[in-house]
């Protein structure tokens, strides 16, 4: 009997073609960086919402520590790196776990025999920093710069502490920095910047952003054609390859797959969709499996979340002011709490959500402030219940499986009552 249990295996879920394409694209990005290093060329590391169109234009390979930290954590390979940062490197455990993981990795990869992390990053020759996601990025990159002795190219994107659009003088400051960065990276790389190619990359970036937005909107249908968690798998296309044609191909394929689900009345959500929720915050990458299992057990599809839409940097190609404005406003964390939470309330209504499940992410103070300060806005505007749970994007010590399930149970209970009341 015991033997039988061991030998019976669940059939492995067949990955849709778009997912295979994403995996190939990501591998290629890392390979391009490795190959460039082998040729003695310079490669960079960049924050997730930096004007990547510029290095794309110059054909300079760039890797993304935040995305890498998410991947490494999802594969349960982050603990060793976090411990290295907290131990020999002496970083306190309260700083962002992406930062700890990456600072640990940056140190480890200086040993050429190190090969444990997957995907394995090549060591950078320069850093690209935009602080539109948080100020911790700035401190994280300062440490990388000091430890690795590499320069930073910085676009300070400010923070929109009020609800009105950024004033002209703010956009001007950011635009001037982008112009300065183009000249500086040209000088650093010894490559000539081709403005015509830049325009093409910008246009491609906009095509990709628009396509992704269209796909996400398709999940507003009831039942949703996709499990909302599926979107996490496609974020890398916009973070790593926003201006590449390969992203267009992936998104076209994904769109076809979603439309096929719609035509066949099927869904990638592996259970009957009884409730639809908005997931607020970054994923708990090491605990994605548990999150999905519990949500599936309770018939809860997290159909949409703000994190996956943060990479849609929408601007008018050829207009640097418009680009500067987009980089100042696209990140969830670049906007004030009322701005963000009013957007969330609109999304909840547009996606017909029954509730909001909020990840109180120990690594992300600002997102947590948004939840604490802004949940009233959501509850008052939409009437849906909001429930918090504690977790972390990479640090496995924070999340509690029991607490997550209890909180989901509580949310389901309220959503059920609300539904029954609505249906008389």
């Amino acid at each position: 009997m015991i033997m039988a249990e061991h030998t019976v295996q669940k059939p492995k879920r067949v990955l849709p073609k778009s997912r295979i394409m994403v995996a190939e694209q990501t591998s290629q990005v890392y390979k391009d960086a490795r190959d460039a290093k082998a040729r003695g060329e310079k490669i960079g590391w960049s924050t997730a919402i930096f004007p990547q169109e510029i290095c794309e234009t110059l054909d300079i390979p760039v890797l993304y520590p935040e995305n890498n930290a998410a991947s490494v954590s999802a594969k349960h390979l982050g603990d060793e790196l976090i411990q290295h940062a907290e131990g020999p490197m002496r970083f306190p455990m309260n700083i962002c776990s992406y930062a700890r993981l990456n600072l640990g990795l940056a140190d480890k990869i200086q040993d050429p025999t190190y090969n444990t992390a997957d995907p394995l990053m090549s060591s950078p020759d320069f850093l690209l920093l935009a602080n539109n996601s948080c100020t911790q990025l700035m401190k994280w990159y300062e440490n990388l710069s000091r430890n690795l002795n590499v320069p930073i190219f910085f676009v300070d994107c400010l923070f929109n502490y009020y609800e009105e659009k950024p004033a002209e003088y703010k956009v001007k400051y950011i635009r001037k920095q982008i112009e300065g960065y183009i000249a500086a990276i040209e000088n650093f790389s010894g490559k000539k910047f081709n403005w015509d190619k830049f325009l093409e990359v910008q246009k491609r970036s906009q095509i990709n952003s628009k396509l992704f937005d269209e796909i996400i909107r398709l999940n507003a249908r009831t039942p949703a054609p996709l499990s909302g968690f599926d979107f996490f798998n496609y974020m890398s296309c916009l973070v790593l390859c926003r201006g590449k044609e390969s992203t267009t191909e992936i998104f076209k394929q994904l769109k076809e797959e979603v439309e096929e689900h719609i035509a066949n009345s099927t869904s990638s959500f592996p259970a009957e969709e009884e409730f639809r929720v908005h997931w607020e915050g970054i994923a708990c990458w090491p605990n994605l499996g548990h999150n999905l299992k519990i949500l599936k057990n309770y018939g809860v599809n997290a159909v949409i979340n703000g994190y996956v839409t943060a990479w849609n940097v929408v601007y008018e190609p050829g207009n640097l002011d418009s680009m500067a404005y987009a980089y100042a406003t696209s990140s969830t964390n670049s906007l004030s709490t009322p701005s963000i939470m009013n957007m969330r309330a609109d999304t909840i209504q547009n996606y017909n959500c029954d509730g909001m499940l909020c990840h109180v992410n120990r690594s992300c103070k600002l997102m947590t402030f948004h939840i604490f300060v802004g949940r009233n806005i959501v509850e008052e505007k939409t009437g849906v219940p909001c429930v918090n749970f504690d977790g972390d994007q990479s640090d496995t010590r924070v999340y509690s499986e029991a607490q997550f399930e209890t909180r989901v149970q509580g949310l389901v209970e309220i959503m059920k009552q609300n539904k029954e009341a609505r249906n008389g």
């Binding site: 700035m138 400051y173 920095q177 604490f372």
Partner: protein, 374 residues
């Protein structure tokens, strides 16, 4: 000596109860504007004929702030929010908040929801200071703060008023730096707690008044014979070295503070407003001139170098890093500070700082062990 003690007692009372100063200024018919740490252009408030008053929280157990501020918010901001929500800051005409870290970004909304009766003036410093556009930006950003203050004060902040105020602030900086030097010749009188009180009190008083008192303290100290301190000497670095009990443990262990790189103390006084030119440009240039601080973007290890220099210059035996719990900007700098100090052969002690709690035995043990080691 009696006069010196009386002056120090006066400052001690102010630090113990800043609210009394708020009430005093309000009683005199003055408007008071709260200034959040670390760098807020208090000069603009002063030039508008109002009193700038630092908001540095207090040793309280927050009861209301948890509604909006996560548990992993630094204790200064949690207590500031709590005091605001409890109505303890009532009477302030506004509060100015710089977006220097993620907690401030979150607090800018929390304050507006939780403390509705005190309008918030938020602003942001440019961090890409190497880019020439940063200065133009900051002049415009300070301009927005200025407009809001003018609306509250009901008067224009003139270039002449600003230039006069800058003189007062720079003179205050000079006096505070002088105090830090003179204090080291009188470590029997200027204990770590007393030194802290002289520094911290500057946030709750009009600068002219504070300058006058500190000048008198310096005069009184200069009249005393130089004291040859036989105990240990340390440099403090961090945001604050609070609560006050913490510094008493240094005294108990015969450790004097002979210099600091605390945001609440010497970082406030080490960068003057440069001379010459348009006042708003000068104010912006002061930010561009700041260095060796965790809320200022720098690639170099200038803070570590500054601490090592402070140790050498003041003949200190070690560095006590007062690491504010949940202050990520400081936490990111700890490895660099520790390494720079240790590379220079300087012993380093790291203390967890939580303004809201009473001093824990762990800190006592750490300080005792450090005293034995250095």
């Amino acid at each position: 000596m009696a006069n010196l003690i009386s002056l120090l007692n006066k400052l001690d009372a102010i630090v113990a109860k800043p609210k009394a100063m708020l009430d005093k200024y309000l009683g005199e018919g003055k408007r008071v504007v709260g200034c959040f740490p670390i760098y807020t252009p208090a000069e603009l408030v002063h030039a508008a004929g109002m009193v700038p008053m630092g908001l540095w929280g207090g040793q309280i157990t927050p009861s209301l702030a948890g509604q909006y501020a996560p548990i992993f918010t630094c204790s200064i901001m949690r207590s500031c929010l709590d005091l605001g929500m409890l109505g303890k800051y009532e009477g302030l005409s506004a509060a100015i908040m710089p977006m220097l870290c993620d907690t401030f970004r979150g607090m800018s909304a929390a304050w507006r929801v939780g403390v509705k009766n005190i309008p918030l003036i938020s602003f942001i410093h440019p961090q890409n200071r190497a880019d020439a556009a940063s200065k133009e930006f900051l002049i415009a950003e300070y301009g927005e703060v200025k407009k809001k203050l003018e609306a509250i004060a009901g008067c224009e902040i003139t270039a002449g008023a600003l230039a006069a105020i800058f003189k007062i602030y720079n003179a205050h900086n000079v006096v505070m730096r002088e105090f830090a030097e003179v204090a080291n010749d009188h470590l029997d009188v200027i204990t770590p707690s007393v030194r802290h009180i002289v520094m911290k009190s500057s946030h709750f008083m009009e600068k002219t008044e504070h300058t006058a008192i500190v000048e008198k303290i310096i005069d009184a100290l200069n009249k005393l014979p130089v004291h040859h301190w036989k105990g240990k000497r340390v440099i403090l670095t961090g945001i604050t070295a609070e609560p006050g009990d913490l510094l008493e443990i240094f005294t108990e262990n015969k450790i004097a503070v002979v210099g600091d790189d605390l945001a609440q103390e010497s970082r406030q006084f080490r960068t003057d407003i440069p001379e010459g030119g348009n006042p708003m440009e000068r104010l912006a240039q002061q930010w561009l001139d700041r260095k060796a601080c965790s809320v200022v973007h720098e690639i170099s290890s200038s803070r570590g170098e500054l601490i090592v220099d402070l140790v050498k210059k003041n003949n200190a035996d070690g560095v006590a890093v007062c690491l504010m719990k949940f202050c990520d900007v400081e936490e990111y700098e700890y490895p660099m500070i520790a390494k720079k100090s240790e590379d220079a052969g300087i012993p380093t002690l790291c203390l967890d700082i939580d303004q809201s709690t009473r001093i824990d035995e762990q800190s006592r043990t750490k300080i005792q062990s450090f005293a034995d080691m250095i």
